[in-house]
């Protein structure tokens, strides 16, 4: 998927337009205020207070990035250790195996109990969702690096740090990015859940608030914005991949 290819962008636009036509048809058929027409929603979108909307978006993005950052900090080291050392893999594999299938969203009440309703529980929830994926993908990425990749470096006299920088890290990065793309969607959904409580900022709050005020046009405008931000994040991963994964073609 090349974000720069014009044909791909055209197809995206076509789908975007088709969805709007479908939406307009449905809303005309239904004729109820629970599904306003696209026109009404976009009108609501453009009269939103710019500064306040940016604050909502910024708050949400801040939480997502903090969650991703925390997950990377927690997940990279165990993943690298498990990939490089059979000893560490034996030690940590049962832990990952046992905890991986636990539906992390079910731990939301636990996170709220222990960390309160503030930022900490929101960020930790996002990190919790991502960290297992990161551990596993980094481990498998590192394991997939053929042993002979290290041979020439070793024969040249490369130390641990040089082997890590030139072989282990780029090998891990490749599978890390693929995982990030997939788990970003999950992280975004969880973000919505965590923004229902204990906050007056963020995209999730905005949508739920509009819902409570029965302001459906605003609610849909919020959903549109939320989706647009998600799409932008997706593009960002694409760009990073395009920049760093050229070698994979």
């Amino acid at each position: 998927m090349n974000p720069n290819s014009g044909r791909f962008v055209l197809r995206l636009l076509a789908v975007f337009a088709a969805l709007h036509v479908l939406w307009a048809l449905l809303s005309a058929l239904l004729h109820r205020d629970m599904l306003p027409s696209p026109l009404a929603v976009y009108r609501a979108l453009f009269v939103l207070d710019g500064a306040e909307t940016l604050l909502h978006i910024g708050t949400s993005l801040g939480r997502v990035f903090a969650g991703i950052g925390l997950a990377l900090i927690l997940g990279l080291l165990p993943g690298l250790l498990m990939g490089r050392s059979p000893h560490w893999n034996r030690l940590l594999d049962p832990v990952v195996y046992l905890t991986y299938p636990v539906p992390k969203i079910a731990l939301l009440p636990v996170a709220m109990l222990f960390l309160g309703l503030g930022e900490a529980s929101k960020i930790v929830m996002i990190a919790l969702i991502l960290v297992f994926q990161i551990v596993i993908s980094v481990r498998d990425g590192v394991k997939a690096i053929p042993a002979h990749t290290y041979d020439v470096l070793t024969s040249l006299g490369a130390g641990r740090m040089e082997r890590f920088l030139h072989a282990t890290l780029p090998g891990a990065l490749s599978s890390l990015l693929s995982t990030l793309r997939i788990s970003l969607g999950t992280a975004f959904s969880v973000l919505f859940f965590t923004e229902i409580y204990g906050t007056e900022h963020g995209m999730g709050y905005f949508i739920m608030d509009a819902w409570l005020r029965l302001d459906y046009a605003d609610m849909y405008a919020g959903i549109l914005l939320f989706s647009a931000v998600g799409f932008a994040l997706f593009l960002l991963v694409d760009l990073i991949e395009h920049r760093f994964m050229k070698w994979r073609g």
């Binding site: 020439v152 040249l156 780029p170 050229k246 070698w247």
Partner: protein, 299 residues
């Protein structure tokens, strides 16, 4: 064009005793099962030495040990009196001697897939020659890629290069670090005949431009005869004490047979295949490989 053997002899004149590649009681194995040795040999420096032997004779094991890729082996390997073997064995640098610089070309090219051709060479130089200024290293990387005929393809990633081109990058990388010891582990065995011949010629040319001690492992008899100044024939088969006794009695001195190939090394590459000497050498080697330990007559 300077001749390979002539260049070798010229350098041999100033050779100090103990210089060159040496093995003393070298043994290695996997999981307690010995695959090679005990091996003893002294090779004058510089020169191309081809290592030939049936599969399982431990050719690659010897090379990997010299490259520092075997965690453990018996006996010792040295180049010019400096110990080889990497890790804790390579005490050279710690004893005030410079560590032996090794250029290694594996069969699968051993390029980092995430680095372009030029970056692969630069990375090797940065590791092997950290003391050199960056500009000097970058110039050397570009020059060697140019010399192996990859000018214009420097920014390509390995997957965008053919097998032959990838191996050219690996050869450029090995020479660019100006190694004391060049180790090539069946470098051309995955390539087609035409590409292979081109690369053999390239390798000889590069070596003449920058002579060093080169160990070239191959399972191809003709390749061993075409490239080597001397051919080291390793015996194959089971290693029992009976084998070893027979080895002592045979001409396999020091656990291997050294076959002089100077006469052929002096010929231009183009004329080698058609010469009588080439036919004679390959015939002898084939017979020796077939007969294994039984071989007792020197060619």
């Amino acid at each position: 064009m300077i001749d390979q053997a002539a260049a070798a002899r010229q350098a041999q004149g100033e050779r100090i005793p103990g210089a060159g590649f040496a093995a003393r009681g070298f043994t290695a194995g996997y999981g307690g099962v010995p695959v090679i040795g005990p091996l003893g040999l002294d090779l004058p420096e510089p020169g191309i030495y081809t290592v030939l032997g049936p599969s399982g004779s431990g050719k690659s094991t010897l090379l990997r040990a010299a490259a520092g890729l075997l965690p453990d082996f018996g006996g010792s390997l040295a180049l010019g009196g400096r110990p080889l073997g990497g890790g804790r064995r390579a005490g050279g640098a710690a004893n005030g001697q410079a560590a032996v610089r090794v250029g290694f070309v594996p069969q699968n090219y051993g390029l980092l897939p995430w680095q372009t051709a030029i970056r692969n060479v630069r990375t090797a130089l940065r590791i092997a020659r950290p003391e050199e200024p960056r500009a000097v290293r970058e110039e050397a990387a570009a020059r060697w890629l140019e010399r192996v005929g990859l000018g214009g393809l420097e920014r390509r990633y390995p997957r965008e290069l053919s097998g032959g081109q990838q191996q050219r990058v690996a050869i450029a990388r090995a020479f660019a670090v100006r190694p004391d010891l060049l180790l090539l582990d069946e470098p051309f065995s995955a390539l087609d005949a035409v590409t292979r011949e081109g690369l053999q010629r390239l390798l000889l040319g590069s070596w003449r431009a920058q002579p060093s001690t080169m160990l070239f492992v191959t399972h191809d008899v003709e390749e061993a005869v075409l490239l080597g100044r001397r051919i080291l024939l390793l015996p194959g088969g089971a290693r029992t004490s009976d084998d070893r006794n027979r080895a002592e009695a045979s001409s396999y001195k020091g656990g291997l047979l050294q076959i002089d190939n100077e006469a052929l090394a002096e010929l231009p590459f183009e004329d080698k295949r058609d010469s009588d000497k080439f036919q004679e050498q390959t015939r002898t080697l084939r017979r020796l490989l077939r007969e294994g330990w039984e071989a007792t007559d020197e060619p």
